[in-house]
């Protein structure tokens, strides 16, 4: 469970709720465009310690079969994961 991207963007009068109350975890935009660099995980080096997952401010690193992967839709490229990784399994690559 986590907030996820939706297709429908309420904008018109009839789609806007009566009160300032709406479905929780409703996302309509990504954060990918914020990034200059992206973390790339080398799963052959990863030991599954989950420190990158734990320390990610955006929660974009997720567990996948004892390894980890990145949700690039929402990664901002801060580089905390790369610094926290003790085995050097994460490198930052420039976005093209």
């Amino acid at each position: 469970m986590k907030p996820y991207l939706r297709d429908f963007v309420p904008q018109n009068l009839e789609d806007i709720p009566e009160a300032t109350a709406y479905e929780a975890g409703y996302l309509v935009t990504k954060n990918a465009g914020w990034r200059n660099v992206r973390p790339v995980i080398d799963n052959t080096k990863c030991v599954g310690c989950l420190q990158c997952y734990l320390y990610c401010p955006d929660g974009v690193i997720f567990q996948d079969d004892n390894k980890v992967d990145v949700d690039y839709n929402f990664c901002k490229g801060c580089g905390i994961c790369q610094k926290i990784c003790k085995v050097g399994a994460i490198r930052m690559e420039a976005e093209k």
């Binding site: 309420p10 009068l13 009566e18 009160a19 300032t20 109350a21 479905e23 929780a24």
Partner: protein
């Protein structure tokens, strides 16, 4: 129904008990204190099943009420004067969030100079905060408003907080015989609060969010419509109220012998009692005078007031308020209403009762007689040569 000898504050507290709020948060301020003292006693003696929260300020009183309302609990708070101003930030928050909180406000002068007595500058200065504003005339109406307020505020087409105003001391502390309905009657009138505008563990929601320029106007338009819808729902509520309790209220205004009147005083709150008495006396002397009592300042009775005074020769707005640098706020609102409906009756403004100053019968008679000769301008009662004391 049983008869009790109650002050306005007591009566309101009895009404609130009948409405069964789940959470009450309040901070003491004269002359509101008795209503929250009574409610805390009712919680203690278990005649009211409610969480009574001893908050440390009025800002927290309203913030706490919003928290409780945001999870779907019926809530109540009460304040006055400086306290109302101190929570002002939370007033627009509650209306924007469409939290149907009910608050009793004991109308009191605002500093400076310090003064604990009644006038209506506190609530009238917050007319634009998005709340329904009702003004009671007597203790019976106060009790009844406590029940009516939740019906209106919580209605799906309204979803707007409700401020019930009682004149400080004159109404809050004056004892009258009041009919107190039974709990069964109250329950029949007022069902438990149901809403979608809440945080729900089964259906999580994000509340009280930001809305940027693209959607902000839409939210504000809906808020405006909610307040306008209150007009219809007040009428519906009063019809239903009469069916159950046998008392019929008259919507946004009350007309007293005004239908054929040449000269009309337009006012609000407890002073209406004395104006009615004066109207009766003058009528006995053959004077065609009348009263229009504004019961609701928001939504504002534009059409009702215009219709009520359209055949008069002149009218005066008597109010315990002044918008400095302009005129009485009620006067401004009334003039705007008449203009909109093309009513060209001359209207003058009388500012009276500030800081609890007595408004006498002689002064009311003077207002009526002035309407015959020179109905104009903004006049302050009690500081000029016509001081009746």
């Amino acid at each position: 129904m049983s008869k009790h000898f109650l002050s306005g504050n007591d009566a309101f507290a009895y009404g609130i008990r009948l409405a069964r709020p789940k959470v009450i948060s309040a901070y003491p301020i004269t002359p509101q204190t008795i209503v929250v003292e009574r409610l805390s006693e009712m919680v203690e003696d278990k005649s009211l099943d409610s969480q009574f929260i001893h908050v440390e300020s009025e800002h927290s009183a309203m913030s706490c009420a919003m928290g409780a309302s945001s999870v779907g609990a019926r809530t109540f708070t009460a304040t006055s004067s400086q306290g109302l101003l101190y929570m002002a930030e939370c007033l627009t928050y509650a209306s924007g969030g469409r939290f149907p909180i009910v608050m009793m406000n004991a109308n009191r002068s605002t500093a400076l100079p310090w003064n604990i007595y009644g006038d209506q500058r506190d609530s009238l200065s917050l007319l634009d905060s998005g709340w329904i504003q009702a003004y009671a005339e007597n203790a019976q109406e106060a009790l009844d408003l406590a029940l009516l307020s939740y019906y209106v505020a919580e209605h799906k087409e309204v979803q707007t907080p409700f401020m019930a105003n009682l004149d400080g001391f004159v109404l809050t502390h004056t004892y009258e015989v009041v009919d107190v309905p039974t709990q069964e009657q109250a329950d029949e009138f007022l069902p438990p609060y149901e809403t979608d505008n809440k945080m729900d563990l089964q259906n999580p929601r994000n509340l009280a969010f930001s809305a940027g320029p693209a959607t902000n106007t839409a939210f504000k338009y809906k808020e405006h419509n909610g307040l306008l819808n209150a007009k219809k729902i007040i009428s519906e509520a009063e019809t239903r109220f009469n069916e159950i309790f046998g008392r019929q209220y008259t919507g946004l205004i009350e007309k007293y012998k005004s239908d054929d009147a040449d000269y009309i005083i337009i006012t609000l709150g407890s002073i209406s009692g004395l104006v009615k008495q004066t109207v009766d006396e003058l009528r006995e002397q053959g004077e065609k005078v009348g009263l229009v009592r504004i019961r609701y300042m928001r939504p504002f009775p534009n059409e009702e007031i215009s219709q009520a005074v359209q055949n008069a020769k002149a009218a005066a707005v008597l109010e315990k308020d002044i918008s400095f640098g302009n005129e009485g706020t009620v006067y401004t609102n009334v003039n705007s209403a008449l203009k909109k409906f093309g009513v060209e009756v001359p209207v003058s403004n009388y500012i009276g009762g500030l800081g609890g100053r007595n408004i006498s019968e002689v002064e009311i008679k003077t207002i009526f007689s002035s309407l015959k000769t020179n109905p104009s301008g903004v006049n302050f009662l009690g500081i000029g040569v016509n001081d009746s004391e």
